[in-house]
């Protein structure tokens, strides 16, 4: 993370500037879309051809049409949407809790020196150890139920967000702080008008990291504990050798993750647009 500096001056014309600056080939937006669509359709066509005409057994590589048929069947039986809804609901619920914990706590730890001294070691330790290690402990204490799923998602997401917010607070320009103090800002006012606004981009980054860590937590939770949800269906399909169903659910899970991560990245870019 670079230090936060305001850069009001911009290149006069971004487009020509870029064209002049870059000696690399640059694809236009339209070209990107066309190539992307072609690319993905080629992928599925090749997959279908390989699955149908090669010797790879169907167990390992079901054809695209099989996968689509399986998905449709699951949708008709009501397995697909019900489980998807459960996973999404648990994920959203846990992420709201995580953000509600991580952002205020991060601001607090980053802003109060004594708390930083005492707690930051633990925060970093929790951040660096894979939280998956704690899964057996959670199973032991919480049991095998939905709460365990929420706990593992929260434990996965909170440290990632917390660390970024905490460090973000420390990057607040000290000259701004000194200026505010010289004009007689109270502690609360200082926080509201100086510290918080310059931490907002970090909060967005933290949330993005929390979202992707939370997805890992979601999958782990469903893999270990639950009797429903996307992760459970994928695991069960693997255990019962229903590979078409597994591939189909994996594709849906990928779409879900890409959509979420893409959205949070968009948010991050929006919020930190004023940073250089």
């Amino acid at each position: 993370m670079s230090t936060v500096t305001a850069k009001p001056v911009r290149a006069p014309d971004v487009k020509t500037f870029r064209a002049y600056r870059s000696s690399r080939r640059v694809y236009s937006r339209k070209q990107r879309w066309i190539v992307g669509v072609l690319n993905l359709s080629t992928f599925f066509v090749v997959w279908q051809l390989v699955a149908v005409y090669s010797d790879i057994p169907q167990l390992f590589l079901p054809s695209v049409t099989d996968v689509v048929r399986e998905l449709k069947e699951m949708s008709d039986e009501g397995i697909l949407w019900g489980n998807l809804a459960i996973s999404v609901w648990i994920y959203v619920f846990s992420m709201v809790i995580s953000i509600a914990i991580a952002v205020p706590l991060g601001l607090l730890i980053g802003g109060v020196r004594i708390l930083d001294r005492i707690l930051s070691t633990y925060v970093w330790a929790l951040y660096t150890t894979p939280r998956l290690i704690l899964m057996p402990l959670i199973l032991l204490w919480v049991g095998i139920n939905d709460t365990a799923r929420v706990v593992i998602i929260v434990l996965s997401a909170v440290p990632a967000t917390l660390v970024v917010v905490m460090e973000g607070v420390k990057t607040v320009d000290t000259s701004l702080v000194r200026a505010a103090r010289a004009f007689g800002a109270s502690r609360l006012r200082l926080f509201r008008s100086v510290v918080f606004p310059s931490t907002v981009p970090f909060i967005a980054t933290g949330i993005r990291m929390g979202v992707s860590r939370g997805l890992i937590g979601l999958f782990i939770g469903e893999y270990f504990t639950s009797a429903d949800g996307i992760g459970y269906i994928i695991t069960l399909a693997g255990k019962t050798f229903n590979s078409a169903r597994m591939y189909g659910m994996l594709l849906i899970f990928v779409l879900f993750c890409v959509a979420l991560v893409g959205l949070t990245q968009l948010l991050e870019r929006k919020v930190s647009a004023w940073r250089a």
């Binding site: 633990y122 899964m135 992707s212 890409v258």
Partner: protein, 273 residues
């Protein structure tokens, strides 16, 4: 008041002699660890919980010593580390050249980006059931999941490293007549090194998670399997001991890779978080 604040801000910090700094460096960590153990022990003293649910530090230490004495400690550790090491080497050998190539060619970037993107956004451990289906339970599954988890961050940060090379440096090198090889060796590679190092750091921590998933769920040997087995036998103290070993290994791996990263990027102003 304002001048006083500025004055203190500008004052040089008191520095200690080198050996003292070196000796004092782990001190805050040690103090907070001691505090943690103390809190843990006092919870045991005050609430006196069932040791099957929540053993005290003494029990855990005892279990650790017993396991060590029985010779059960090192084999699983070595087992896990071997899978981790093999997986990491494969991901480095595959990931770095691939990342550099994708970074050098905008067309390759355009074509690979949807797949890399999908892999990046999805937790790679979701592929665990698929790998188990392909390979059964055992060493190969662990290695493959480590590779899958580690290779994506390595590819992505190598790619970023090449793509963020300062364009003016490239142009300067070109106008001085640098060939493709010179350009790569003298401009792009040094700039990419810190990115490779941070990719390796990310790869190590992701790979470790992949390793753990397989070990915890399939009983394919290693520390994770020991943790799960101790839990099933209600030998919670032993489970805590192995969990502690895991945490220690994770912390050592991460701090080593952080040091590597700091070393590779010491010419840059700051390390990207």
């Amino acid at each position: 008041m304002a001048t006083a604040a500025i004055g203190t801000a500008l004052q040089p910090r008191r520095t200690r002699p080198r050996w003292q700094r070196w000796a004092l460096k782990p001190l805050p960590g040690l103090i907070s660890f001691a505090g943690f153990v103390l809190v843990w022990q006092s919870v045991i003293w005050i609430f006196d919980p069932n040791p099957i649910l929540f053993p005290g530090p003494v029990d855990v230490w005892q279990a650790f010593i017993d396991t060590w004495a029985a010779g059960d400690l090192w084999p699983p550790v070595i087992d896990s580390m071997r899978a981790m090491f093999v997986g990491l080497v494969i991901s480095l050998v595959v990931g770095i050249p691939l990342g550099l190539a994708i970074g050098m060619s905008p067309t390759a970037d355009l074509i690979t980006s949807p797949y890399l993107w999908g892999f990046f956004a999805m937790p790679r451990i979701a592929l665990a059931p698929l790998l188990i289906l392909f390979l059964g339970f055992g060493f190969e599954v662990k290695v493959w999941l480590v590779v899958l988890s580690a290779v994506i961050p390595i590819i992505l940060s190598c790619k970023d490293g090449v793509q963020t090379t300062d364009e003016s440096l490239v142009r300067a090198a070109r106008s001085f007549g640098a060939g493709r090889l010179d350009m790569f060796g003298k401009v792009i590679a040094p700039n990419t090194l810190p990115f490779i190092a941070s990719g390796v750091r990310n790869g190590i921590s992701r790979g470790f998670v992949g390793l753990l998933v397989i070990e915890l769920t399939t009983g394919s040997g290693g520390i994770g399997t020991e943790v799960m087995q101790s839990m099933r036998n209600f030998d919670t103290a032993r489970m805590f001991a192995f969990t502690g070993v895991l945490i220690a290994i994770a912390l050592i791996l991460v701090s080593l890779s952080r040091r590597l990263e700091a070393y590779a990027s010491r010419w840059r102003e700051e390390v990207v978080l």
